[in-house]
Symmetry: C2
Subunit: 492 residues, 2 copies
């Protein structure tokens, strides 16, 4: 895979002087077209052997183009603040129209752990497959991935380090880490090749560049970026990702569903409610204090039809928590910044670190509920979302989060009663809008979407809890009790 | 994931009597439309808990539709004849227009190995990811995958086994294996859920069916198959698999390439050639006899421009082999049967078992050479092929094959000399056609395709060997020597 990056590719000075200004001009023009079109984001991954010119190339890209619309980020080994490994990369994804240069990127940790023997071969393969899925999702969301791998043969790397060391002006570029790397060159090449092999796909292929000659390296990297920009500018609007899309889920034959099997008559009296609430809130408070010491965090998801009682239930939970340790994220339609990113981006931002709690009042499940029902995304988009969401939650759990998801289930009759109450109560009128009535008219479509959602995303990793909520008091107690039980099971 | 398949879905007799003939008629009509259109193949995977009605459903499908165009295959645990695990599934893929029902399928072994603890969690995840890629490739090649999972709760399974046992007419259906399975029900559910979670994609989702009520189960399975058939009949012609396809590889800037760096002046005299050939053929014969005892096989790939000497080199190899143990597969344009299958299908057929040798005279690399250059497949098709081919070869190697790939490299001048010789020699004229001259005119396009092919598919698992072949004698000796060295390295 690296053979043809070891044959001594080179470009003479004259050629470089002739080509560089042309390339630069073309890159700048393409960058501005990208910005105007604002349809795709471009993510450039800069990886490869030490000494192969990665840093120099990143500098050149910033010189050649308008750096105000380029975001360059360098990544070393991950620290551990309790967020999933991918969290820091999500934070720096460029919005549509912009270019992000990731120096290091999500390949560094898996490669390091493979070379040092920290990961088994199967573990390494598994992490690479996860990257593959992540990149596939990015591409499906309109991100153009340019994966550059700068390569030097062992001999060329050694020669370069010696040359740099011999000149006082450049000696600082060579540290013990470079020489260390050289000692394990063969192991790195072996692992790198496996990474490139497993993650080089049709939609996001790797481009290997021989790093020995600066002129060849610079022009080649620039040309590859230009090709990617131009291809993305020409690309047709998003199309179905599969040659033969699967049939969407069909309605259940006997109309039986988990929602229909809930017992909506459950209720509790005010007195017992007050007593139990107090006990449960105390229990929850104690549990929440143990999150930090056990390096765990809590992600709470509340979903339900309009007027199901999400807000008031969440308040009963947060009353039991230390205000410094939780955050409630209300989720409405995405704003302009959020629409310029993959749909999961706005949720990744609020992933708690260890000891903290994030409560999502509606969530990423909007993709397979409102966006599906209202046609805000394509059928292919929401059909692939189940798998993407499961992979997302799996990452949260692996990083130590307890993920607890509630569907507050009410009957259409109870919803109508609450709507009418809101309409007729002055201080509640702000809570009811035309949208609520429109959504209500689509109840059967939403109910089907909820059924599919639970079938596809209620997992051992992150199960759904359906709570019959026609009686608000009973529902709140049930939610608190379930939450305490889940935390007790997780915290041991 | 299985929650809503444990709520007691059922359909009454009256409904069944009304719906069954309608469904049956619609299925038959769809089956014939599929056959007429002959654009997609349908593969139905039937998996799930024992006792959940898998066998009954398969029988019904065959009753409802025309069984002449359905191929039903049942799979137990894999034997080991030295071919990759997936080999037996490739053998039974239905051609376009037909339906294949796989009872068991590629999920059984990974699930069994996970539940029995033979595989680690990472190994299980890795195998599931491989299945995911395999299924993705099938879909991209025009196969419609219908993945049915029949589920019974532990309680329902127990009840069903007891009921079957109590009736002498059905007692045979329950063996110790069913009761054994029940003992480990929870472990099976856990592993199954992970399998469904990791392999349920937008283009090939799982459909979970509660298996307790025969009428509900039958109608639901039939309806799901009908939906899939109808969706595939309506589907638009294949489109690019990615929202934003990557830019194809661009020409190399300094025109440097591995092909250009070969030393084409290498040659050897007839006398030395004769001596070395004899020695090498003896060495190869000895090595080939050790394949069987070491449970290894040999896959040889020969590629090269027209008149590069593939045929005559292959003959020098087969002269050294026992005729009972090798097969030469000449690869030309695919025939009608082969065009009705994914492009790798015709090569899977000839994968050798342990102790055997298959020599491919041209190969699956046609996908990224002639099919790319001549436009026989789309850009998206050949761009995804590199990854698919690497995954294919990885499977061969893991099953014990030594994969040795040769590119016989000649210069355009030498090709012209050989073409002229063929033209002017009566007994060689059959070897030269108009096609050869047409291909020659596209030399630079082929050279670029060869460069990309080697960059993307020369791996530690299955490296390419470039052999300068302007001198046929030198080339043959070099091929034989390389082959012997690879075999010695592999056989220890």
């Amino acid at each position: 895979m690296f053979e043809s990056a070891e044959i001594g590719h080179a470009v003479d000075k004259k050629t470089y002087k002739r080509e560089e200004p042309l390339l630069r001009e073309a890159l700048l023009a393409a960058q501005y077209a990208l910005l105007r079109q604002a349809r795709t984001a471009v993510v450039v991954l800069v990886n490869g052997t030490p000494g192969a010119g990665k840093g120099e190339t990143v500098n050149l890209f910033n010189e050649w183009m308008d750096p105000r619309h380029i975001r360059t980020e360098a990544f070393g080994a991950a620290g551990s603040d309790g967020r999933p490994d991918m969290w820091r990369f999500w934070q720096v994804l460029p919005p549509k129209g912009h270019i992000g240069i990731l120096f290091g990127s999500w390949y560094v940790d898996p490669l390091t752990d493979a070379v040092t023997g920290l990961d088994t071969r199967d573990r390494f393969a598994h992490r690479l497959e996860r990257i593959r899925q992540f990149e596939r999702m990015l591409v499906a969301e309109g991100v153009v991935l340019v994966k550059l791998w700068f390569h030097l043969s062992k001999k060329a790397a050694k020669a370069r380090f010696k040359r740099l060391e011999s000149d006082p002006k450049t000696a600082w570029r060579v540290t013990t880490s470079e020489w260390d790397h050289l000692k394990h060159h063969d192991a790195w090449v072996l692992a790198s090749e496996e990474a490139l092999r497993r993650t080089g796909t049709g939609e996001a292929p790797w481009r290997v560049i021989e790093g020995a000659d600066p002129a060849y390296r610079a022009l080649t990297a620039g040309q590859l970026l230009l090709d990617a920009l131009n291809t993305s500018l020409r690309a047709p609007p998003p199309v179905a990702p599969a040659a033969h899309p699967a049939a969407p889920p069909s309605p259940v034959l006997d109309e039986g569903s988990l929602l229909a099997t809930q017992d909506y008559r459950r209720h509790i009296g005010r007195k017992r409610y007050d007593d139990q609430l107090e006990v449960l809130q105390g229990r929850l408070n104690g549990l929440s204090r143990r999150l930090a010491e056990q390096h765990r965090s809590l992600v709470l998801v509340f979903e339900g039809m309009d007027a199901a009682g999400k807000g008031s239930t969440i308040r009963r939970i947060t009353q039991a928590l230390d205000a410094r340790h939780y955050r409630v994220v209300p989720v409405a339609a995405p704003n302009e910044n959020e629409r310029a990113q993959p749909y999961l981006w706005r949720f990744w931002r609020y992933i708690p670190h260890h000891g903290h709690v994030t409560v999502f009042d509606r969530s990423w499940y909007g993709r397979v509920l409102v966006e599906r029902v209202e046609g805000y995304c394509s059928e292919a988009d929401w059909m692939r979302a189940y798998g993407e969401i499961n992979a997302f939650e799996e990452q949260l759990v692996e990083a130590g989060a307890v993920v607890v998801k509630f569907w507050l289930a009410i009957t259409p009759e109870e919803q109508l009663r609450r709507f009418d109450e809101r309409k007729n109560t002055a201080h509640k009128q702000y809570k009811i809008t035309e949208d609520d009535w429109r959504n209500r008219a689509k109840w059967p479509l939403y109910a089907q979407a909820v059924g599919n959602m639970i079938d596809r995303s209620s997992t051992q990793v992150a199960p759904w809890h359906l709570v019959a909520s026609d009686d608000k008091l009973w529902s709140r107690v049930e939610v608190l009790r379930t939450l305490c039980e889940r935390l007790e099971a997780a915290l041991g």
